[in-house]
């Protein structure tokens, strides 16, 4: 059956559960956008047909995406392996093109205007292309993914669009590229790297939370304790003591130079402020070199934690059972900014309460686990790496997006997959899912 994939019965072998979940998610998304946009004073059925509201636009996007999905299912799996490198190149080219053609939307110059008033965000599409090229690279027979060299090549493939995103002031999108760590880890990335990354993250957070002097003392004490406790081993091997001292020095350098450098030169002022406000501190924007060069855009309109505060109020006011469909006052009163895109989760939380949010998260968890299952049943490495990339991207989006609405993560502008309003985003996730479904339908094939 796998030998005739593109014949009449395109649905053969596709995973029905994922398709159902996909449509359920899109439907929930449209419902949420409808809740946000709903205005009792205007006739919603009229505006639905007129296509002027976000939810009606989203319906048209969804229909379009449905066709794209069918189109992908009708394609030959080999196309994806064949086009992986080229598409990545095109994607990078498009991202570079934004610096020339880019249209400024919400302070980031990452959009290319296309016909009909729609705009395309190449960084979104680049996620797909990066997933494909990563899969292609790892699945190459000559790649030995236990080697550091392979790791570095893969890392560079991922880092390139991420860096370009940062240059476009799209920190959120850049962060998403770290989602490929899942796929890399699955294919043999040593856990030590993850542990180091995690330690680094903890160190950064500690730097923010504690006074540098106190943190330095704590680190010194820890280092001293380790040396004392393992003093006998050190006598046998001088190098280990150097290792401990080296780690101590790196930590110290991180606190003293790297973290301030990141906050002052890599992050923009508003991002640093958001991160600081998460832990209840204030960030002094005058230190920020990046925003000085970008000559601060629109600052100081509302207190920086306004979004999160209102979003928490909206979700919290839902209570256990929720306030009911279309009855959320936070949503109706438009208290949550960006509510139909990045903060779409709040309308769900307010209207349907804990029951709603828990059910929603359950669906998503099932969706992710289902894709992991699909990944593990692939014969070809290409499909598996790609599947894990999809899992990583989805998971990262969901986790970061929901965490930021409930105050667990600083606000970075990334959408909730399949739910948030936006054609680019919906199209990206649709393509991600449907390529996976196409590959899965051909799971008996070995793709290279």
């Amino acid at each position: 059956m796998s030998n005739t994939p593109n014949q009449n019965n395109f649905s053969k072998g596709t995973d029905l559960a994922v398709i159902i979940l996909y449509f359920a998610m899109v439907a929930i998304g449209i419902l949420c956008i409808f809740m946000v946009e709903f205005n009792p004073n205007s006739n919603w059925s009229n505006s639905l047909i007129a296509g002027k509201n976000s939810y009606s636009k989203q319906i048209y996007f969804a229909i379009f995406c449905g066709f794209v999905g069918i189109f992908i299912l009708l394609m030959d799996s080999k196309v994806f392996t064949a086009l992986a490198n080229i598409s990545y190149g095109v994607g990078i080219a498009l991202m570079l093109a934004t610096f020339v053609l880019g249209k400024n939307i919400n302070g980031s110059k990452s959009w290319i205007p296309i016909a009909g008033g729609f705009n395309l965000q190449p960084a979104e599409l680049c996620k797909i292309f990066t997933a494909l090229i990563l899969a292609k690279f790892i699945s190459k027979p000559e790649t030995d993914f236990t080697k550091l060299k392979s790791h570095l090549i893969a890392g560079a493939m991922i880092a390139l669009p991420a860096v370009l995103s940062i240059m476009q002031h799209e920190m959120g999108l850049a962060l998403v590229y770290s989602a490929f760590l899942f796929a890399m880890y699955r294919e043999g990335l040593p856990p030590a790297i993850l542990i180091v990354a995690l330690s680094f993250a903890i160190l950064v957070i500690a730097t923010l939370l504690l006074e540098p002097v106190i943190l330095a003392i704590i680190l010194t004490v820890i280092a001293a304790l380790i040396i004392l406790s393992m003093i006998k081993r050190f006598k046998r091997n001088r190098n280990t003591i150097l290792l401990v001292v080296g780690i101590w020095a790196i930590c110290f350098g991180t606190i003293r130079y790297v973290v301030p450098y990141i906050f002052n030169n890599v992050f923009e002022c508003y991002q640093s402020t958001r991160i600081y406000s998460m832990i209840g501190k204030e960030y002094d924007c005058s230190q920020n070199n990046k925003s000085v060069s970008a000559s601060g855009k629109q600052h100081g309109k509302k207190p920086d934690d306004y979004n999160v505060k209102q979003s928490k109020i909206a979700i919290g006011s839902g209570g256990f059972w929720g306030r009911g469909f279309l009855k959320g006052t936070q949503t109706r009163g438009k208290y949550v900014p960006e509510q139909n895109t990045d903060f779409i989760f709040t309308s769900l939380g307010e209207a349907f309460g804990f029951i709603g949010t828990a059910t929603f998260l359950g669906l998503y968890l099932f969706f992710l686990f289902r894709i992991i299952r699909i990944a593990e049943r692939q014969r070809s490495t290409f499909s598996r790496v790609y599947a894990y990339s999809v899992v990583g991207i989805f998971f990262f989006h969901i986790a970061v997006n929901i965490s930021m609405t409930i105050g667990l993560f600083p606000v970075v502008g990334i959408p909730l997959p399949l739910i948030s309003y936006g054609g680019s985003s919906l199209l990206t996730f649709t393509v991600l899912v449907f390529i996976l479904l196409r590959l899965d339908a051909d799971r008996q094939m070995v793709l290279r």
């Binding site: 699955r186 006052t329 409930i406």
Partner: protein
């Protein structure tokens, strides 16, 4: 190679699951374990608008509205939303400085917080209202809020109606459960306060959804949590606007009070206290300007003398003294006392107004002539009643009687802060005179003629007249006869006004004797000069000594003699003889109520009386010192002249020395003819009849030629 690292899929699942558990944990804490977000959301989005109902209207007995509601506008501001206000324009419209603007803003924030609307400028005048509505777009956060305020079409009965004012912190603490809020208005005095619950109605609350810009989105939950405002209910009183207006008119430029009661129901027909004020001065933005000067006025125009003023009743008490003695069987109506102008049974002689023999030959004569000696004697007999062994017991019995007449205790009228005045306790005399064993009736002798420590409010005196008129019972004086849509609570309140108060066991025969005596007062006695056209009436004059200067002029009466329909008490402070000032006022009030109109003669008399200035000199001086000359009477009178007048009046009253009853009547009618028209016996009657205005002008240049000085009893 495919299966290599396959356990890592599980680890990835664990990581994903772990992150989801953290998220779920946070959701549990947000959505299940904290209520504050729900509150915060409601604070954000639900705008509560209080709908004020119209206050109830107060009507008089002929359904004329004593007060009405009119619409006024307040300029309100929500400080949080007042951004980008054209401050300069606002200041120039309101004619305030920038500093004042900021000060008011801070006041609003302090009072009502930043997000609630607070009053920036209350009671806009029509011009301001027009200017501000035109420019409202320049003042974001500001809006106009409609409010109904009181107005008083008859400009009358300020003391009775009371006023409404913004509630203060004290009020809010006292009425914590009644749902008042800062900025609300409530009745502060008078009927407005007494019947606040009835008049205020029920406030409604409308809830609106508003968006993040404060714009109203529409009703919250389709208005299912809204409550409707229920208009306050109306009060129907026993008052009569015209009588009330007349009473106030007659008392102007005088200090004093008049109370008119319907003895059949206890309903108060009129209650005036002078000096008063125009109730319209205490509504709207007038209030700010007026209240201060009213409160600091030395004549205390806000003070309701009718229920709070404590006056020695003087001779007006005599009928009651007689009632006690008759009921106790101490005297018979034929009891006489041989008075020659002095009462010296207690050593230090007390003077009586009369010298002629036989003026107190029986009770009726004694009442008619208001013989001090007679009633001092009667009082002593009551105190030293052998039935009660000693003076103290006798006094207690006497006090019981007096209290039962409604003196020395609160009557329970439906006005706040009624004063009970004073019928002294034995304790007070014990303190003064030591052990009751040692004191006797001579110690408090003048209680018998309504002096000493006895005081009564005009209301109590009027009520005592109602009691005599009804021959032994009264209805608790009250204003409100009925309440619109009376419910059980209202009935409970009003039931005490609808029950007969039978407080004495004195038989009606005894009352009839007293009534006859009081009738004689008006026929040939001290009030013979005062007539009520078409009606026989009963009265008693009083001239009460007091520590504050000249004697108070008192008059109590009821009419008609048979089947009385009105009882009146009038007090004019420091005016002199009862029959001269209080008497004619009482007479006119009765006439007005009984006949519903005044004869043209009475009209002239009332205009004259209204013009007479009897303000004590000390108060006039105060007005002049404090630049409040507008409060002075337009025509100044020479008080010395007037004092001559009243001294003479007494003389003239003393003049007829009746040996026979018929004789006296004739004579008093003669002299009464003069007095009916004007209280100056020296001025010939025709002058007034010609032109009362001429009289008013003449009055000043009309020195009394007679200079008979009368030495008063101590």
């Amino acid at each position: 190679m495919a299966l290599y690292n396959s356990n890592r899929g599980g680890i990835i699942q664990i990581i994903i699951g772990f992150v989801f558990v953290i998220i779920i944990g946070q959701l549990i804490s947000l959505q299940i374990f904290s209520n504050k977000y729900k509150l915060a959301a409601d604070n954000n989005a639900i705008f509560r608008k209080i709908i004020y109902p119209d206050r109830g209207i107060i009507y008089d007995r002929k359904k004329r509205a004593l007060l009405e509601n009119t619409i006024s506008y307040d300029l309100v501001v929500i400080p949080n939303e007042a951004k980008g206000v054209d401050t300069a324009a606002m200041c120039s419209i309101l004619k305030i400085s920038k500093e004042e603007f900021n000060k008011r803003m801070i006041e609003v924030i302090v009072k009502n917080s930043r997000v609630k609307a607070g009053i920036f400028e209350p009671f806009l005048s029509p011009e301001l209202y027009a200017q501000i509505t035109e420019n409202l777009y320049r003042f974001p956060g500001f809006s106009l809020s409609e409010r109904s305020i009181r107005s008083y079409p008859y400009n009358t009965a300020a003391h009775v109606l009371g006023y409404v004012a913004e509630v203060d912190v004290n009020f809010l603490q006292k009425h914590e459960d009644d749902g008042y809020e800062m900025g609300d208005y409530a009745g502060m005095t008078g009927l407005e306060k007494q019947y606040e619950n009835v008049l205020m109605g029920q406030r409604g609350v409308k809830r609106y959804l508003r968006d993040n810009k404060g714009k109203i989105q529409g009703a919250f939950e389709k208005g299912q949590f809204d409550t409707l405002a229920v208009a306050g209910r109306n009060l129907f009183t026993s008052m009569d606007v015209e009588v009330q207006q007349l009473a106030e008119k007659l008392l102007q430029h005088k200090i004093g009070s008049a109370v008119v009661i319907n003895p059949k129901t206890g309903g108060v027909i009129a209650m005036a206290s002078s000096p008063g004020y125009n109730p319209n001065l205490l509504t709207g933005n007038q209030r700010r300007r007026t209240i201060g000067s009213l409160l600091t006025d030395t004549a205390r125009p806000i003070y309701n003398r009718a229920i709070k003023g404590q006056y020695p009743p003087g001779s007006t008490f005599k009928p009651m003294g007689a009632l006690i003695a008759l009921d106790e069987g101490l005297i018979a109506p034929s009891f006489g006392y041989n008075c020659f102008g002095l009462y010296s049974a207690c050593g230090d002689p007390r003077k009586c107004e009369h010298h002629n023999a036989g003026h107190a030959a029986n009770l009726q004569l004694a009442l008619a002539n208001s013989c001090n000696s007679y009633f001092l004697q009667v009082f002593r007999m009551a105190i030293d009643n052998p039935k009660y062994h000693n003076a103290k017991q006798g006094y207690l019995k006497w006090k019981e009687y007096v209290n039962s007449f409604g003196l020395g205790r609160k009557l329970g009228i439906d006005l706040p802060s009624e004063n009970k005045a004073s019928i002294p306790d034995t304790a007070q005399y014990n303190k003064d005179f030591g052990n009751p064993k040692y004191w006797n009736s001579c110690y408090m002798l003048t209680l018998g003629i309504g002096q000493d420590r006895m005081t009564a409010t005009p209301l109590q005196l009027a009520n005592a007249m109602a009691l005599i008129a009804n021959e032994g019972y009264y209805y608790t004086p009250h204003f409100v006869d009925s309440i619109e849509d009376e419910d059980e609570d209202d009935k409970a309140i009003l039931s005490k006004f609808r029950t007969k108060q039978e407080v004495t066991k004195i038989s009606s025969d005894i009352f009839k004797i007293i009534k006859e005596g009081m009738h004689d007062v008006t026929v040939y006695g001290t009030a013979a000069g005062i007539k009520v056209p078409g009606h026989e009436y009963c009265a008693k004059t009083g001239t009460a000594q007091n520590p504050h200067g000249k004697n108070h002029s008192l008059f109590v009466c009821f009419a008609p003699k048979d089947n009385p329909r009105v009882a009146v008490a009038v007090v004019v402070e420091n005016a002199g003889f009862g029959a001269t000032w209080a008497g004619p006022i009482g007479g006119l009030l009765m006439e007005k109520y009984l006949n519903d109109t005044l004869t043209s003669e009475s009209k002239i008399k009332s205009d004259y009386l209204a013009g007479v200035d009897l303000m004590p000199q000390s108060i006039k001086d105060w007005y002049i010192r404090n630049n409040k000359t507008e409060r002075l009477a337009p025509i100044e009178y020479n008080n010395d002249e007037l004092s001559d007048v009243w001294d003479m009046e007494m003389v003239s009253e003393n003049a007829p020395l009746p040996s026979k009853k018929v004789d006296t009547i004739k004579k008093t009618i003669d002299s009464g003819a003069n007095k009916t028209n004007m209280p100056l016996p020296a001025t010939p009657a025709p002058v007034i009849k010609k032109d009362s205005a001429a009289l008013l002008n003449k009055k000043k240049k009309n020195p009394t030629t007679k200079n008979v000085k009368h030495t008063k009893s101590k």
